[in-house]
Amino acid sequence: MSAAAEIFVSALIVIGAVFTLVGSWGLVKLDAPMSRLHAPTKAGTLGVGSVLMASMCYAFIWRDGSAHELLITAFLFVTAPVSAMLIAKVAIFRRTNVQELPPPPTDTTWATHDTGERAIKSSSASENRGGNTATPG
């Protein structure tokens, strides 16, 4: 029982560490901003989630059990898509010209560039940057 539990907790720790390392390695290695966005989100959910599972299992098996690591897991699972979406919007906003984007399906402009009166300033600023080659989507 104890040996199996040790193997289980060690496997969880190693899996979490490997996923964290792979996420950061992908962050350095991949060459496009959207691809770079892809890698660390795995570290955020699988890597840290697995380490927190290991901590919880360790506490339940050898200490007086506590499940408050679930708070961090739930918080990361809720917030990771939000921050990933915002960083993707930043990548779109910085890398594309407004004129190069295809027309949006329903609205007059894409939400990333819809900033009220600031839209004029930011669109002219992105023109001054000379546009870019990255295609949206």
Binding site: V9, A43, S83, V90, R94
Partner: protein, 89 residues
């Protein structure tokens, strides 16, 4: 056995912190730097939780939770600042 797994995990997470720091330094655009900061915060959470297992104490849980929350809030603030040149409208 858990000790050796923890040593491996410390090495791996420390290495990933260095890799994220490298992307933070060389990041060609501000979005990459924001992403690197977010990754640094998440890796710091993993490192603190691992140290909590290693030290056999629950003391470091609050620090991990606080860093997770502050990392998210700072990521959102940076991204909003880049998008709108303003954080609170």
């Amino acid at each position: 056995m858990i000790t050796y797994a923890l040593y491996f995990a410390f090495t791996a997470v420390g290495l990933s912190l260095l890799l994220a720091m490298w992307r933070l330094l060389i990041g060609p655009d501000v979005g990459d730097r924001v992403l690197a900061l977010d990754t640094l915060a998440i890796n710091a959470v993993a490192l603190i939780v691992l140290y909590g297992i290693y030290a056999q104490t629950q003391t470091y849980f609050e620090a991990a939770l606080l860093i997770a929350m502050l990392g998210f809030v700072s990521t959102v603030a940076y991204a909003r600042f880049v998008l709108r040149r303003d954080v609170i409208e």
